[in-house]
């Protein structure tokens, strides 16, 4: 207890590490059970049952899948570029998880006498009496999400298989073009907020009983950002990089065992991050009725919003068939980018006159 690092007691660091661990484990569990939820929800939407046989109503299915994949044989194709082949799943997985660092999932709670902001990359400055977080949080997220594409491209190239290569190329083309429109569509939000810090953006949406959401001020931006994010993380209906009908399994055709599982975890972690980001930017983050008075309600609201958006992703997956490649490019370049630009102009004009 007596040890101090940088003027702060040991306990403070322990509390911080515990916060990070809790957040990380929660995201990891969400990722694992997102696979189960997806199979269950899509199953019921197709009037099937989904997994039923591992545990009560298949509740142990993610664990069974994990164990199975863990014990599968590691296959590295003989003509593959071994180092790139091995490192690609990590490059896909790590950015997917570390993007969560800047997303605020609650207000400030008091624990062991320390004020802990519920955001991984944030601290409470006692002298200034306010929370400091990464002041370019959104830029950080956009940067990390564009790093994720390297994992997929590298996987496609290193496999030395034509299907993987095609999947990787498609992934890079798609992710780069949709990143543009996703980035442009949230510029309208920054024009309203005037800051890139996610904590500030959440605070700005806290008025009106926690319902002053940017969704109501920027419905077009919210819609475009969500759709473009779906495309950026290769979710249906934009899952062309792993279109089974044409490309076997796209960039992860040659992957087996845990490396394959890592691509899947990356995909679902990306889905969690995108839903969390959409909730933060447009649905008021952890805001909600009484969220300021009762700090523990914040994470509850936040998780509820994120889970609703994830349900929406699965709902879309059960409904919409895959886009054709030219339709995808048409939608990205000729529909969303002009719409996003028009949205910026309109927001600017309205902002200038108000």
């Amino acid at each position: 207890m007596g040890i101090e690092i940088l003027g702060l007691p040991m306990m403070y660091y322990i509390v911080m590490v515990v916060k990070v661990l809790v957040a990380f484990v929660f995201v990891l569990l969400t990722v694992a059970y997102a696979t189960y939820a997806e199979r269950k929800i899509i199953g019921h939407m197709q009037v099937r049952l989904g997994p039923m046989r591992t545990g009560w109503h298949g509740l142990l299915q993610p664990i069974a899948d994990g164990v199975k994949l863990f014990f599968k044989e590691e296959i590295v194709p003989s003509q593959a570029s071994a180092f790139a082949f091995l490192v690609a799943p990590l490059i896909a997985l790590v950015p997917a998880f570390i993007t969560f660092a800047v997303i605020p999932f609650g207000g400030t709670i008091e624990l062991f006498g320390y004020k802990i902001p519920l955001q991984v990359a944030a601290y409470y400055d006692t002298t200034a009496g306010q929370v400091f977080d990464v002041n370019v949080g959104v830029l950080y997220i956009l940067a990390m999400s564009s790093l994720g594409v390297y994992g997929i491209v590298l996987a496609g190239w290193a496999s030395n298989s034509k299907y993987s290569l095609m999947g990787g190329l498609r992934a890079s083309a798609q992710m780069i073009s949709y990143e543009l429109s996703a980035g442009l569509s949230i510029i309208a939000v920054f024009m309203l907020s005037g800051t890139l810090s996610l904590t500030k953006i959440v605070e700005l949406q806290s008025g009106f009983g926690g319902f002053e959401w940017y969704l109501f001020k920027q419905p077009l931006a919210a819609f475009m950002f969500f759709v473009c994010s779906l495309a950026e993380i290769n979710r249906t209906p934009f899952d062309l990089p792993e279109a089974e009908t044409e490309l076997v399994s796209g960039f992860c055709t040659e992957y087996s065992s845990m490396k394959y599982a890592m691509f899947f975890m990356a995909e679902y972690a990306n889905m969690v991050t995108v839903c969390a980001l959409t909730a933060t930017l447009f649905l008021g983050g952890w805001n909600g009725p009484f969220a300021v008075a009762v700090p523990l309600l914040g994470p509850v609201y936040f998780v509820a919003k994120v889970y609703f958006l994830m349900f929406f992703c699965m709902w879309i997956r059960a409904t919409v068939p895959r886009y054709r490649y030219d339709q995808l490019m048409h939608l990205g370049w000729k529909v969303f980018i002009p719409l996003a630009l028009v949205n910026i102009v309109i927001t600017g004009i309205i902002g200038y006159f108000i």
Binding site: I41, Q46, V47, R48, L49, W315, I316, T319
Partner: protein
């Protein structure tokens, strides 16, 4: 055409289906309801403690898969009976012609459909095994 409406219609349909009762049958736990006239495993009908079959050879004659083997015998009352009656389930196509052809209503088809086995010889059902299925 407006591209949003069809997507919203689709989403409403999938949402409605989410609350429907699933049609899945949890097979080993739940058994399917076999229809009354289902054509499953054959059974030889019994009357007065012996098979009704008189070994008239109409069923092997009509059988399109040639899966029925009958050999006639003579019992103590000098009546003709099937000394050997075998159906090869690997060849049988479950058409039910044998049941239609039988003049003495000696053969019928049951609802039994789980006919998997480990050895080829186990698929040849002899008279005793067919009689067992009452």
């Amino acid at each position: 055409m407006n591209p949003i409406t069809p997507i919203i219609n689709g989403l409403s349909i999938t949402l409605k289906h989410l609350f429907m009762k699933p049609v899945t049958l949890q097979y080993p736990d739940e058994r399917p309801k076999v229809a009354a006239r289902f054509r499953g495993l054959h059974a030889l009908n019994v009357s007065h403690n012996k098979a009704k079959c008189v070994a008239c050879y109409l069923c092997p004659t009509v059988c399109p898969a040639k899966c029925i083997t009958v050999e006639a015998g003579e019992d103590d009352n000098h009546d003709k009976y099937a000394a050997k009656y075998e159906i090869d389930m690997l060849r049988c196509i479950f058409c039910g012609y044998c049941v239609e052809a039988c003049p003495v209503d000696a053969i019928r088809m049951t609802g039994e459909f789980e006919l998997a086995n480990y050895h080829r010889k186990d698929f040849i059902y002899n008279k005793e095994r067919l009689l067992e299925k009452k």
